[in-house]
Each structure stands twice: as structure tokens, then as C-alpha cells.
């Protein structure tokens, strides 16, 4: 009779399914298809898709490229630690290092321009969390992720680390200027 006993009808698979149940199954199926197609639709027509461009790298290789980028494009330094503020050039290639416990350097971007920002970590996993826009991307050591982004509004933005990376995790705050 019930769910804790064997089905009373031994040929339960021959029992017809009620119309209402069929209707609900159909709704669930169609909704699933809508949600599936929605992701593909957004890849074709949507304007927010995470880049697939990724390369294997090492902390040393990535740091060398980033240091070259910083040396060539620094426009000033800020804070007591003299963190370089780097204006990403018109070519649009910029580098951002995640390490214990800083985002390095400060990037300066222009509204409406498209940039290719290379992200990688020197040590543990980190989380690129751009606030208050709220874009969140995992940053993994050994992987160079090239994310194409176009700022849509001027302002000063914070990069919070939102992947736990040890005792100084909460102090790992970076900055991006959009002019």
C-alpha cells in the first residue's frame, strides 16, 4: 500500500500515469530545455560570457610578463607601499597578479574600451571579486586566464579576494580605476 512496502501492484510499470503527473513532467522537461537553451543563447547574443582563453603557465613565467607590463606602463605610484598604478595601453593587454595577500598592480582602464586582462596566481587559489560590480572569477596557480572585459561606468573599484587563502585573506584588497 505504501512507500515502505513492495508495490502492491506487482506490475507497477504497466500502471498508467495520471494526466496531471504527465503535465507536470512535461512542464519540468520543457523548462529544463528553456534553461539549457538560455545558456547557449547567451553565448551567442549575451554580452557577459566568461572567456575560454587559458594557458598553462608557471608563477615565474607569469610574473616576468607582468613585471615587463608594469615597467612599461606605470603612470604613478600610490599608497605607502608605492603600489604602481598601471594604465593599460591601447593594445588592451593587461596583467594582474594574485598573491599572498595582494592584487598587483593597480590597473587604470577607460570606460567603453575593451581590455584583455591576464589573471594568474603566484601561490594558492584566489578569488577575483570586482566590487561593487560583483563579477567573480576563480584565479588558479599555473593557469593564465585571459579575460576580455569592457568597463561600462567610471569610478574606483575594489578587487576583493573571495577564495580563502590563509591568515591574511581579509586584507587582500586591490583596486581598479575606470576613467
Amino acid at each position: 500500500m505504501s512507500a515502505i512496502l513492495p508495490p502492491s501492484n506487482r506490475l507497477w510499470w504497466k500502471q498508467p500515469i495520471d494526466k496531471v503527473e504527465w503535465a507536470w513532467i512535461a512542464i519540468a522537461f520543457v523548462w529544463g530545455m528553456v534553461m539549457f537553451v538560455m545558456m547557449i543563447y547567451w553565448h551567442i547574443y549575451g554580452k557577459q560570457n566568461l572567456s575560454n582563453e587559458t594557458y598553462k603557465t608557471t608563477p615565474e613565467m607569469f610574473a616576468a610578463k607582468a613585471e615587463k607590463f608594469i615597467a612599461e606602463n606605470t603612470i604613478r605610484t600610490e599608497t605607502e607601499q608605492n603600489i604602481p598604478v598601471v594604465k593599460v595601453p591601447a593594445s588592451g593587454e593587461g596583467y594582474l597578479i594574485a598573491r599572498l595577500w595582494a592584487w598587483y598592480p593597480i590597473l587604470e582602464l577607460e570606460k567603453g574600451k575593451t581590455y584583455k586582462i591576464h589573471l594568474s596566481s603566484m601561490d594558492y587559489n584566489h578569488g577575483f571579486s570586482l566590487q561593487p560590480v560583483n563579477i567573480n572569477i576563480q584565479v588558479i596557480p599555473g593557469y593564465e586566464h585571459v579575460v576580455k572585459m569592457t568597463p561600462t561606468k567610471e569610478g574606483t573599484y575594489a578587487i576583493v579576494c573571495n577564495e580563502y587563502c590563509g591568515i591574511g585573506h581579509h586584507s587582500m584588497l586591490g583596486r581598479i580605476y575606470v576613467k
Partner: protein, 564 residues
């Protein structure tokens, strides 16, 4: 093999001696882990509450690691092993296969749990539940988890063996009961899950003792989540089985359609393990095609399965109630349900909270592009506190009000408080999940000690609403901890001081489940069709909420920076 069988005079359930002892020990061990998990929960909550910020950073991360391991692995796994033995030996009325080996599994799990906790509290293993490499814990942190996994795998093996025993000894005829079938689903998913866990934790253990030089951090994340997410899918299969069990015990409810419910469980087996992808949607190392196909459980077939259960469980209850004559209007069957019985109230809150909060938020969070709005924010723990806690934990809590009298033969103490507990815990935990998701939507990070970023070279001021949400998280978190503590007090108090109940007749032979003849079945099915309009309304309400919330998030996404 000499053993005895006891028939419970209250429920008619038949307990085999070995299985009964193992169920008791596993359930009690689960409760003890929940005690540790609950204390750590309170400390976590009081630290993330910005007005209090109780612990220093180092202790906070240590305690948070312990909270994850003790709740997500230890409390739930021990209880699930008890559920598996119940769904096999008790429901099928047969002896438990290989009780000695089952005890070995139990002690391995217990020892592993203790070892991992020792490693955490020694302070060198604050690596969080996920322990992403290359951050390294002490070697015995991994060793303990491996032992727990081996022990659990043994428990799952004993479950499979017991199904074979029941079949061979012919203690039932026909097909498995639906609840046992659901438990079988959980056990099959568990086998996959534990093997994934071994696949990553064994190399990680070897790495921690210096035998392996390096583990690829992206590969680790993928395989680890084959353990981490799939183990939550064991929970789904297990607590859906418990929902069916509760509906059967309280209402005598039978499934609307055996075929549909079993098919939905089958979909879980086929597709749930793809969910590892949910955690990798904002990762660099996977292609968009891989993400889309896997995150949707291959075109949302497992979501469809959950939507089916979400319909058939209340539908079965409604049909049973209507047969009893509660036929007025759409919802008399629900109004006249035993809301004062914690077995039912807990189960129903679990069903509603899991469906409306946990289910919808999970699908939205698992949508490839929308994930970028929520990945690693407080939204994530908000989501899983409405799946694993109000879903699984609350379902397990509510079934305990049944198990204490029938399995432990003790009457529950303080019945008034027992009535209140599921409401106190279920509602506060649901609100907690909601406000956590609210904070996450505003960008607040998970696993983060300080919203003020003390010591950072810059300042960032979260919006005022984020602080409000975190304050509410504190308030409702504390209420939820009180609700959980009340459950522990009631259960432990009843085991120690509850009135002893008659154990019932003991026999040397199992009494098989009486064969239901075709004639009886025909009578039972002849004219028992009742409509379930109330359930249809509830299901459509769920669907409308689902669609609206889903598209609202696409709207949010369309407003952020352009990414490609």
C-alpha cells in the same frame, strides 16, 4: 547465523538485532558530531556578525574548517549509514549482511572523524572543507577523511549485501519498496562519490607526506568536487527517501505512481554526478561547452527529477488525506494535517524550504554565466544551508522523532518542546539562508573574516544593505543554533531519561512481508483515483517563483561590465 528479530508494537516495524545496534550507534555518533558542528556553527556566526566579530582570524578559519567537516561529512554520513541499514534490513525484514564488517566500517569512520578533527584543532590544517591544493594541511587531516570514506564505503557495501540477503531469503516479494529504492539510489551515488574522493584524497595525502611532488590545482578542484558535490547528491536521494518514508508512516500515503517516482530516482543516478561542474563555472581551465553540458546535468534531467519528487511527495500526502475525507476546497488536506507532530511538520518544512529556497537558488547559481555574479560569495553557503540543512538535516531531525520510540524504545521527553523544535529550527534556518543569499547578491564574500578589510592598503565600503543582511545572518543564525541545540537536548535527553517502551515480541526467525495477492491489489487500485488539485496549485506556485527569479538574475547579469 544466530540473531533475533523484534517486532515493534507501535509501528509494526521489524528490527534485526545486529542492524538495530548498528543503527543506534551510527545515529548517536551522528548526533555527537552535530553537537561539535553546532558549537562551531555558533562561533562562526558570532564572528561573521559584524557587530560582534568574536574570534580572531586564525581561530575563525580553524573553526570554519571544523564546522564544514563535522556537519557536511560526519553528522550526515553517520546518519545516512543508519538510514541505509533501516531501508534495507528493517524495511525488508531481513538480517543485516556481515554485521562484523559493518562494525569495522563504523569504527573506521569514527576513528577517521576523530583523527581529522585532531588535525584541525591542532591548528595546522585550517584549509577549509575543500582543502584546495596547493594550500596544505597536516597529513593526518587527509588520512582521517580517507578512513571515513573507506568506512562509509564498507557501510554502503553492507547495504548492498543486505539487499541480496533479503532477495535470497525471500523476506519480500515483488519489487523493492520505494523508500528502499531511493536508498539504493543514494548508495549507488555514494559509491561513485567515495571513489572520486579516493581518487583525489589519496594522492593529496601522498603529497602531504612528500611522496608526490605536485598536484594540479585545477584537476584537484574537478575531482574533489566529484566528492564534494556528489556527496550532497547522496543527501538529496536520502532525504527524498525520508520524505516518502514520513508520508508513508504518518498518512499511509502511497506514491501517486511507482513508475514516475522510481524513474525520477533513476534520473538522479544517471545525471547527478555531473554536478562537480557547479563549482568550476568561473574557473579558467574548463571550456564553455563542458560547463554548459555538465552544469545542467546534461540538459537539466536531474532538476526535472527533483521537480517530479517535489510534486509526487505532497501529491501522495494529499491523495491519502483526501481518501480519509479531507476533501473540502483546495487545501483542507493540508490544514488538517498533523502540524503538532514534529515528524510531519519537520518533513513538510524541509520539503518547502528545499524546493522554494534550496532548489531554485541552486539552479540559478548553477547557470553558467549567472554563476559569475555569485561564485564564492555568501550566496553559496546561503544556498547550501537551504539544501543540506533545511533539506537533509531537518528531514533527518524530523524522522528522529519517529526513531527514538521505535528504534531506541524511549518516549520523547518534553513533547511541547518537540512540537516547537522543527518550526524554530526550520523557519530560522530558512530565513538565515535567504539573508545569506541577500548578502551574497550584494557581493559579500564567503569564508572571509573581516568586511572592513583591516590591514589592507585600500578601503572598500560595502553597501549598508550588506551590513544589514550580515546582521540578520547573525540574529537568525543564533536562533537556528538554538533550534538545533534544542533538538540535541531533546534527543539525548529522551535516550537517557525518556520513559522506556515495550520492545515487542522477539523471534528467532524473520517474519516476511505478507505477499499481497493480485486480488487484493486489484481492490486497492480499483477505484482509488483521487485528484490532487492542492498539490497542482503548490507546484505551479513553485514554477512561477522559479521562472521569475531565474530571469531576474539574467537581468542582473546584463547590467555588469561586458565580458567575453
Amino acid at each position: 547465523m544466530a540473531t533475533t528479530y523484534r517486532t515493534c508494537p507501535v509501528s509494526g516495524l521489524q528490527f534485526e538485532n545486529n542492524a538495530e545496534k548498528l543503527m543506534r550507534w551510527n545515529a548517536v555518533a551522528g548526533v555527537l558530531w552535530m553537537l561539535v558542528g553546532g558549537i562551531t556553527a555558533l562561533l562562526v556566526i558570532l564572528t561573521r556578525w559584524p557587530a560582534i566579530k568574536l574570534l580572531p582570524a586564525e581561530q575563525f578559519y580553524l573553526i570554519l574548517t571544523a564546522h564544514g567537516i563535522d556537519m557536511l561529512i560526519l553528522w550526515i554520513l553517520f546518519f545516512e549509514i543508519a538510514v541505509l541499514y533501516f531501508a534495507s534490513s528493517t524495511l525488508l525484514r531481513c538480517r543485516l549482511a556481515a554485521p562484523k564488517i559493518a562494525w569495522l566500517g563504523f569504527w573506521l569512520m569514527a576513528a577517521g572523524g576523530v583523527i581529522t578533527n585532531v588535525a584541525i584543532f591542532q591548528g595546522e590544517s585550517s584549509v577549509m572543507f575543500t582543502s584546495y591544493v596547493p594550500m596544505q594541511a597536516a597529513w593526518h587531516f587527509y588520512l582521517g577523511i580517507i578512513l571515513v570514506a573507506v568506512g562509509a564505503l564498507i557501510g554502503v557495501g553492507v547495504f548492498f549485501g543486505t539487499l541480496v540477503v533479503a532477495r535470497r531469503d525471500k523476506t519480500y516479494s515483488g519489487s523493492l519498496p520505494l523508500v528502499s529504492f531511493g536508498a539504493l539510489t543514494a548508495a549507488i551515488i555514494a559509491t561513485f562519490t567515495i571513489l572520486s574522493g579516493a581518487g583525489i584524497l589519496v594522492p593529496t595525502f601522498l603529497w602531504s607526506v612528500g611522496l608526490i611532488k605536485e598536484i594540479d590545482p585545477q584537476l584537484y578542484r574537478m575531482v574533489w568536487w566529484g566528492l564534494g558535490h556528489s556527496s550532497q547528491q547522496i543527501n538529496v536521494a536520502a532525504h527524498v527517501s525520508v520524505w516518502y518514508l514520513t508520508a508513508a508512516v504518518i498518512f499511509g500515503a502511497k506514491p501517486l505512481s511507482e513508475k514516475v517516482s522510481r524513474f525520477a530516482f533513476l534520473l538522479y543516478i544517471l545525471f547527478l554526478q555531473l554536478a562537480s561542474a557547479h563549482h568550476l563555472l568561473s574557473d579558467p581551465g574548463m571550456s564553455a561547452e563542458w560547463k554548459v553540458l555538465n552544469t545542467s546535468y546534461f540538459m537539466y534531467f536531474a532538476v526535472m527529477a527533483s521537480m517530479i519528487h517535489g510534486f509526487t511527495v505532497p501529491g501522495a500526502i494529499e491523495a491519502a488525506q483526501r481518501r480519509k475525507g479531507y476533501t473540502n476546497g483546495l487545501f483542507e488536506w493540508l490544514r488538517k494535517a498533523p502540524w503538532g507532530n514534529p515528524v510531519f511538520s519537520g518533513m513538510f518544512i524541509s520539503l518547502v524550504s528545499f524546493g522554494f529556497l534550496g532548489g531554485i537558488s541552486g539552479v540559478v547559481l548553477g547557470t553558467e554565466q549567472i554563476n559569475m555574479l555569485m561564485h564564492n560569495t555568501f550566496y553559496v553557503p546561503g544556498h547550501f544551508h537551504t539544501t543540506v540543512v533545511t533539506g537533509t538535516t531537518l528531514a533527518f531531525m524530523s524522522i528522529t522523532y519517529l526513531l527514538v520510540p521505535v528504534l531506541f524504545r524511549r518516549e520523547m521527553i518534553l513533547p511541547k518542546l518537540c512540537q516547537i523544535q522543527p518550526y524554530l529550527f526550520g523557519i530560522s534556518m530558512s530565513v538565515l539562508g535567504l539573508v545569506m543569499m541577500g548578502a551574497g547578491t550584494l557581493g559579500v564574500s564567503r569564508r572571509h573574516w573581516d568586511m572592513a578589510f583591516s590591514g589592507a592598503p585600500f578601503q572598500y565600503e560595502w553597501p549598508g544593505a550588506a551590513y544589514l543582511m550580515m546582521g540578520l545572518t547573525g540574529v537568525f543564525g543564533v536562533i537556528a543554533v538554538i533550534g538545533g541545540a534544542l533538538w540535541i537536548v531533546l534527543v539525548v535527553g529522551s535516550l537517557l531519561f525518556g520513559k522506556k517502551l515495550d520492545g515487542g515480541k522477539v523471534s528467532n526467525q524473520p517474519t516476511p512481508i505478507p505477499d499481497q495477492t493480485q486480488a487484493a491489489a486489484a481492490v486497492a487500485h480499483g477505484h482509488d483515483h483521487v485528484g490532487v488539485p492542492g498539490t497542482v496549485v503548490l507546484a505551479l506556485l513553485l514554477f512561477v517563483c522559479f521562472v521569475l527569479y531565474y530571469f531576474v538574475n539574467w537581468k542582473y547579469l546584463s547590467e555588469v561590465w561586458l565580458l567575453s
